[in-house]
């Protein structure tokens, strides 16, 4: 992608994200962090993760925000911080056109993040996938089961310290 074409919409994207963040910050104050104004993917972090679901609903239904569309929800491992997290890419599809990313983090062992599966249905399967790959719990999820790996799979494959199991149902797994 050419740089010249790239810069103009991107800076606009950051400005729009800033406006969005201000609306959220007004309502929730300390619950959200400062906006990270990088040109690639402006994001903020939800510091009080209990409020994540309220923030999500606010973002979806507030007429100034209208984030109707969740493009992506990715689980992430932060081994240095001893944390797991999710990154959500949100967008106001067809209405206001702005987008922003939201991060939520939780403890590495037994971490719980409120589920937003009832806010955006996209999140349903994506949260199941994050649970499958990283092992964080999503409280309030309608059906939190493994989705890609078998039900009786051991460990969470995308954690950085994952060790693959030797056999599965009597079949040798590694090499």
């Amino acid at each position: 992608m050419g740089d010249t074409q790239e810069n103009i919409p991107q800076s606009g994207e950051v400005i729009a994200a800033k406006a969005v963040w201000q609306v959220i910050n007004e309502k929730f104050g300390d619950a959200v962090s400062e906006l990270d104004e990088n040109p690639f993917m402006p994001f903020f972090e939800v510091l009080k993760r209990e409020q994540w679901r309220d923030i999500a609903l606010f973002m979806r239904d507030n007429p100034k925000l209208r984030f109707t569309y969740m493009a992506c929800l990715s689980g992430v491992d932060y081994p240095e911080e001893r944390k797991l997290g999710i990154v959500c890419n949100l967008e106001s599809l067809g209405e206001l056109g702005h987008r922003i990313a939201v991060k939520v983090k939780c403890d590495r062992e037994g971490g719980i993040i409120p589920s937003v599966a009832k806010v955006w249905k996209t999140a349903d399967w994506h949260e199941r996938e994050a649970y499958d790959m990283y092992g964080m719990e999503f409280s309030g999820h309608p059906d939190l089961r493994r989705i890609l790996c078998p039900e009786d799979w051991e460990g969470y494959p995308l954690r950085k310290d994952y060790q693959v199991q030797e056999t599965y149902h009597g079949i040798k797994v590694p090499e």
Partner: protein, 400 residues
């Protein structure tokens, strides 16, 4: 603000239109039966498994089970370096490898500081649009098989073979190309490509019409698809649908227009949405129509880009490829319009290593398929097959 519990089911109920939907009167007491469909079943397009709770022919509920083709793409992406991820991206959506590569390269190039030569952009667009036609041909062909018509499938594959020949001539592979690289493409077009491509466009236009006559204008086909699997636009957006599925629900949303990446803003093409004259907006027929119309649009794009493409003698498409790909630290979400919808890559780079710290693929089929449970409520088994077919899943991309 809506309450949480209600938000889930507020706009769920599908409103039947026309006389094509059956109304089941339940006055005979009958027992439910669990019917397991797949992973090996002719109509599940690979290894999807559906556990259907059925009452006679009526599916009360169908729960999809995935993961039968989980090939650990995200693990591999963390283990190999950036150029090494491209072959794995190929194997995700194996029907539209070019488009998938394109999306991945867009995401990485956002992080990298590279100037892409203009001719490369044209090459990328042309091969992607060719692959889009090929992918839609498979989608339409297999949909015809699902509905019991065998011949259109073979016609589709016959025409697809011409595209594969063209792309093989360009890239050296039939299906999984590894052709679009970060910062460039692997080879320039071979000599005489333009003529052969235009020849194909000329050949394919009447064939597409023939396909329309065989399927879209067929009374039985319309009967089997019209009014089935209705999805209103707002629910579709909430489900995160994209691509032909979302456009089938009447939302004019195409990333080629919205994100205006590559040279798409310079090209003249329209976003295909059904006009509601022929189909009910949001049903299986609309999705099929969108795919059929998109093939036409892709042909237009190919023609235009072939005209506009700058000719350069001795052009080296690999010139802009950085020697060592090590993006600066940061996170990026890059995406492109795939034949099945929005394919996005969330990439996290620490600025030190040559492989991504985290690479998540936002697969369009995965998201589109998640509405299956809702779409299947109270449908007949043949309609269930019709709905799965209209979602046009590629299990490689669903399970990754």
């Amino acid at each position: 603000m809506q309450e949480l519990g209600k938000a889930e089911h507020s706009s769920v109920r599908v409103t039947p239109k026309g006389d094509n939907r059956v109304i089941i009167e339940k006055d005979i007491s009958s027992e439910e039966m669990i019917l397991n469909m797949g992973p090996q079943h002719p109509s599940t397009h690979g290894v999807l498994r559906l556990e259907c709770k059925t009452d006679g022919e009526v599916v009360i509920e169908a729960e999809p089970y995935l993961g039968y083709l989980h090939r650990c793409f995200e693990k591999h992406a963390e283990m190999v370096d950036y150029p090494g991820v491209v072959p794995f991206v190929d194997r995700m959506d194996y029907l539209a490898s070019m488009n998938s590569d394109f999306a991945f390269c867009i995401a990485v190039e956002k992080l990298l500081d590279v100037e892409i030569p203009r001719r490369v952009e044209f090459i990328r667009v042309i091969v992607s649009e060719f692959n889009r036609i090929a992918s839609h041909l498979v989608a339409i062909g297999t949909y015809a098989i699902d509905l019991g018509a065998f011949t259109p499938f073979l016609f589709c594959f016959r025409d697809r073979e011409h595209i594969l020949n063209l792309l093989e001539w360009t890239s050296g592979a039939r299906m999984l190309y590894n052709y679009i690289l970060i910062g460039g493409v692997a080879y320039d077009f071979p000599e005489g490509f333009k003529e052969r491509a235009l020849e194909f466009v000329k050949y394919f236009r009447p064939k597409a019409l023939e396909l329309q006559k065989l399927l879209t204008e067929n009374e039985i086909f319309v009967k089997r698809t019209k009014g089935i699997g209705m999805m209103p636009a707002d629910v579709a957006i909430n489900y995160g649908w994209s691509g032909p599925m979302l456009r089938g629900s009447g939302v004019e949303w195409d990333l080629r227009k919205e994100d205006a990446y590559s040279i798409y803003p310079e090209l003249d093409f329209k976003v295909c949405v059904p006009d509601g004259r022929f189909s009910d907006i949001g049903d299986c027929l609309s999705r099929h129509l969108v795919r059929a119309m998109e093939m036409e649009e892709s042909l237009n794009i190919i023609e235009q880009s072939l005209e506009m493409m700058p000719e350069e003698d001795g052009f080296d498409p690999r010139a802009a490829i950085p020697k060592r790909i090590r993006p600066k630290a940061g996170e990026v979400y890059g995406r492109a319009e795939n034949p099945r919808g929005e394919l996005g890559f969330y990439i996290q780079s620490d600025g030190k290593s040559t492989s991504p710290l985290r690479c998540k693929a936002r697969s369009s089929c995965f998201v589109n398929l998640s509405a299956m449970k809702e779409l299947s409520l109270g449908q007949l088994i043949p309609d269930l097959v019709s709905i799965i077919g209209s979602i046009d899943i590629v299990l490689g991309e669903v399970d990754r």
